[in-house]
């Protein structure tokens, strides 16, 4: 591979997500973003991002219709760096309760549920969560070498969601966040796969630093392979 060439990142376009802001953040981090809805586009790329805004069921339906479910599972199995953002993180899980139960990509065992309608004091919660909230590092976890390598603990990021994921195995939890009295898993990492519930591409300088960390991971993964 030409060392001066920028690593190509496929951004999966399944007709729901805001791929454009993700693409701009990738370009800012020195990556070469390619928005694609072709299985071939995933195979050709060095790394893959699954973005997402909208409903779980519709997202899975679109991925099935576009023939992207197996290619995504294959690309993850191949060991390429893979990042799911927001709904793209939730899709990595086994299933979601949004509009009935929908099966997900099944990469990370666990399920996706809605924020409770009332908090522990019985007051109505404001859902969706829209705004900046903090990432906490679990006591047992280290962020060294992860996407959050340069992120200060308790840093604010931009969130926009009504559902959140509960991994079966808490050791995949990269970071946690609290909203309306509910503490939840706001990021996961397992081998070559990471998922972030917030939008780093909308989280200003600290968010762009996460894309830069992703770019470093891609370069390191390439060096290991070559």
């Amino acid at each position: 591979m030409n060392p001066s060439a920028k690593p190509k990142v496929a951004i999966v376009d399944y007709e729901l997500a805001n791929m454009f802001s993700v693409a701009r953040a990738c370009a800012h981090a020195g990556l070469d973003p390619v928005v694609t809805s072709e299985p071939r586009g995933l195979e050709d790329a060095t790394a893959v991002i699954l973005p997402g805004v909208g409903a779980f069921g519709e997202a899975m339906a679109n991925l099935h219709r576009l023939g992207l479910v197996s290619p995504i599972q294959n690309v993850i199995a191949s060991g390429k760096p893979f990042l799911g953002i927001c709904l793209g993180m939730q899709l990595l899980f086994s299933e979601s309760e949004e509009f009935g139960t929908t099966e997900g990509l099944g990469i990370i065992p666990g399920r996706v549920i809605r924020f409770p309608r009332t908090n522990d004091q019985g007051a109505a919660t404001r859902v969706p969560q829209i705004g900046w909230n903090r990432l906490s590092r679990p006591r047992s976890a280290s962020w060294e070498g992860t996407l959050l390598a340069t992120t200060p603990n308790e840093e604010y990021m931009y969130f926009l969601h009504s559902y959140y994921a509960i991994p079966d195995d808490s050791s995949v939890t990269l970071c946690t966040t609290e909203y309306e009295g509910t503490g939840y898993c706001s990021g996961v990492a397992r081998r070559n796969v990471a998922g972030l519930q917030f939008h780093p591409e909308k989280s200003a300088r600290r968010g762009l630093a996460i894309y830069e960390a992703f770019a470093r991971q891609i370069t390191e993964a390439e060096d290991t392979r070559s």
Binding site: G54, I130, G131, Y156, H199, E201, R206
Partner: protein, 284 residues
Amino acid sequence: MSIRVIPRLDIKGPNLVKGIHLEGLRVLGKPEDFARHYYEAGADEMIYQDVVASLYGRNSLHQIVARAAESTFIPLTVGGGLRSVDDIRNVLRAGADKVSLNTAAVNDPDLISRAARTFGSSAIVISIEAIRQTDGRYLAFTDNGREQTGTEVVSWAKRVEELGAGEICLTSVDREGTGRGYDTDLIAQVAHAVSIPVIAHGGAGSAEHVAEAVLAGASAVAFASIVHYEFVRAHHRSEGHEEEGNTTFLRGDRQFSRVTPVSLQQIKDHLASRGIECRPASAA
């Protein structure tokens, strides 16, 4: 949950403008200069509003939106003159994260449902322009407070939530551009009636006004004059040259004497001192 602090940029053609009661627009400068400054100063989001689009039935924001999206990495809401799912798609493709709808939603409430189904509720902000009546009721208006809809604000707010709106941007036309403070009664009525977030807009003249809007129940606060004024002042001092826009009214006009110029940092510091959580400006 932190409160969002949102500069609102009113756009007319290629320019950033500011009016009073959504009228009497004057040119302040280039929107990208203001946007860049607010992004670096810790804005949590930005709202771009094409203030003349719905009058002329057109939308000229695409280039301005594309430029903003290239250099600012925070959520951007765009409104003004959007009439259809295709209009919304185009502005999202240009780089907006959310759209705000008013006139088109009033004329065709089902547009809210169609847009929410297509793009997700979170991308759909309904803008409500409220004017207080002599009997104390608030009625919803369109076209920058010119056209009455005959609908009460609270019932319209509940209706748009049911139809799938993700947020409400609530403007007090009576207070807008005056610096007399937000209409806290209006904010409280709407914020208690719906469970989706309410962005308060219209009337900020000081950092304490912003805090009052939050304490009345707003999840986010939008403002224009107070930070525009501060930016223009700082820009003059640092650059030592005249702005291209007509800013004399900001500096000398008596109608603006109620506006105390403050920076985003000062607003956020003030909110924090009042016990209101927000992302520190220094984190930007």
